[in-house]
Symmetry: C2
Subunit: 218 residues, 2 copies
């Protein structure tokens, strides 16, 4: 259901039973990752899927492959949201809308949160996150700044960080907590007359990477 029966990327197609198991693993992993994050044990996935650990390892020897297969579509969804946000008539509103919608998705799925974060740190996931999201975020920011509604000293990196932080502070059990923080943040983001500039800070991307490492623990 998650992806059609298909070859192991290049080689000949999987045998019927193997293909069946592959789907089963993907479906089960989606649940397990959403609940326990990307570091959930393969044995938990195997147990819930009712198959052996060996089977999971054989199909996805690298955890990254499993993650990639699982979250590609969900990242695409968020990229699409960013695209739609850029088309809204009011630029600031577009930005706010993007943050809200992106958070709604991240908050429901611990795995997705971590993929969003790790797509910035780890090279293996970069493709599915940052490089597709980055330019659109830049566009959203530039547009709202040109309209004079977003403070001029905000960077796309600032927003990325706030996004990660807000999603890291919310769980499925507390579905509304982030809304409160987002409302607060949006107040802070607005350009106002006579504003002091934000304190400068070390290279933004480097900062972002440190943040991500930190939020993921270790």
């Amino acid at each position: 259901m998650i992806s059609e029966t298909r070859a192991t990327d290049e080689c000949r197609p999987l045998r019927a039973d193997a293909a069946r198991n592959r789907e089963l693993i993907l479906e089960t992993a989606a649940q397990v990752f959403a609940e326990h994050g990307l570091e959930a044990g393969y044995d938990e996935i195997a147990r819930r899927a009712g198959i052996g650990v060996g089977t999971v390892y054989r199909r996805f020897p690298q955890r990254a492959e499993l993650v990639q297969a699982l979250f590609e579509s969900r990242i695409a969804e968020i990229v699409a949201i960013a695209g739609q946000a850029a088309e809204r008539p009011d630029a600031f509103d577009g930005l706010a809308w993007f943050l809200e919608k992106a958070l709604e998705r991240q908050v429901a799925d611990r795995g997705l949160k971590e993929v969003m974060a790790s797509s910035i740190v780890h090279d293996q996931h970069r493709v599915i996150g940052r490089e597709r999201l980055g330019p659109i975020l830049e566009n959203l920011v530039a547009r709202a700044q040109a309209a004079g509604t977003l403070r001029p000293d905000i960077t796309p990196t600032d927003l990325g960080m706030q996004l990660m932080v807000m999603s890291s502070m919310t769980t499925a059990e507390q579905p509304d907590l982030w809304r409160r923080c987002l409302a607060l943040l949006l107040e802070g983001l607005r350009q106002r007359p006579g504003q002091e500039p934000l304190p400068l800070c070390a290279p933004a991307d480097e900062a972002m990477q440190h943040l991500m490492c930190n939020l993921q623990g270790r």
Copy 2:
């Protein structure tokens, strides 16, 4: 240096060599916890102190005892800062100053961050954090709200969360990142005419606990 040679709380005084080791463990643990957080292995502490693991376990069979012994004074420092902040003439400025000073301390010490967070979740550390900090924070908030400078719908819990979040996003290598976020937050905290109220949210303390669990991982 961290605490004078003294009895194991009730019993007769430690032997000279044991007391010496106790101090050595505390000093070393302070470093190790600051670098690796509260979950750092006892063997790492022992290795750096140049003593056996057994010695560390004998002196501090419960990790909580070690943590308590280490961070009591540092929490007291933060409580003192909150007290000073409450005496500043401008209430909003006092709040801002408290957040800044508290963060300066938390940011430098990963262990302290975790103690601040866990003092809210785990009963064993509660005493050294929340119960002493809570009333003072409440006072800071109430005072700034009475002065009409802090938005009236902010709760002490909001601030506690923001404090945890900002400290969790900063490392010693990125000493300035949190300043940028704090500046942004302060903009959002100010009361302004015609403000929309913040979205309401599940019981604040429960939310706080979820957040803390989350930031600490697991």
